[in-house]
Symmetry: C2
Subunit: 185 residues, 2 copies
């Protein structure tokens, strides 16, 4: 949808404490143009719940649960894809975003608190979305927003059950199954 093929690989998700952050990682990846999320942990529940939201709001976003992350990276690279690891330690996104923009097939890797050190060598680029501590959710959003060929905030998601009519006050949601408007609140 962004003119590129983008997937996000989530490392280090801990089912007992990262559910909400990983949900935000998944929904942000979708909203900013990724085609799917690869989850390098076993948490079928979170995968299903992200896919359920995605389905309701349209498009074909998928979550692949419990992937072998090294195998996914290898196969991505073998198929001509590039791998970009986001953290606070790499080269500043501002200095490399024009290079990343030229890549049509991109895997974005984000960790939780710790990542396996090997990732720094496996990635084509280790990118810092600024060298300050903040959030993998923010990192994905700003990276995808900056490198997209289209305006990420104006993407269409086909087959949505629900969609929103932008409005200056309140909430206007269209239920496409009922073909009616719902004013909420």
């Amino acid at each position: 949808m962004t003119g590129k093929q983008i997937v996000v690989l989530r490392l280090g998700h801990r089912p007992e404490r990262d559910k909400r952050i990983t949900t935000h990682v998944g929904l942000t990846s979708r909203a900013f143009g990724a085609e799917g999320l690869l989850l390098a942990s076993d948490d079928e529940g979170i995968a299903d719940s992200i896919e359920a939201v995605a389905k309701r709001w349209g498009g074909d976003f998928y979550v692949k649960n419990n992937v072998n992350w090294k195998r996914e990276i290898k196969s991505w690279k073998d198929n001509g894809g590039k791998v970009c690891h986001l953290s606070m330690y790499g080269v500043n996104l501002s200095d490399v975003e024009s290079d990343i923009k030229t890549w049509d097939k991109l895997m974005i890797v984000v960790g939780a608190e710790k990542v396996p050190p090997e990732i720094y060598n496996l990635a084509d680029l280790n990118v810092a979305v600024g060298n300050q501590p903040h959030s993998e959710v923010a990192s994905i959003a700003v990276t995808l927003d900056r490198i997209s060929d289209i305006d990420t905030l104006k993407q269409e998601f086909k087959g949505a059950e629900l969609s929103i009519v932008p409005t200056s006050k309140g909430k206007k949601v269209i239920d496409n199954k009922k073909l009616g408007n719902m004013d909420i609140d």
Copy 2:
């Protein structure tokens, strides 16, 4: 630091379930140029923990715990500030970011799952960072990144105990108290 005075007001934080998201909200606000976070809930622990991270990495970011949000908005507006409420329902950021850019004193309001309906009338602008479900963390990051007068990813934070030297592989952290480099991992 961004040439503007920006604060972020966080509504609806529930101490029992929003700790990690609100931490990401706070750190992202700081990293992308806000001067402080106003927390409209009572959670001294989260306020202290965000401030502790902020202090270590430099600058003067503050968290004001347990604010009366209506009073904060009123006083902000009485002092010439503008209020921008981010959600998935408002007008698209892409259509209003050039207006927001002209505002020098800006309060960004983000909720958790539900916000009091009054906020839609109190805000000068109700802005959708796209009309898709994603994350208040992503919304803050992309909004501040788009409206800033400077490159948000190249800000300096004065008086940092720790700082990072951008590097293409691995981690290079400087401990400014010891004036030495630490290569981590």
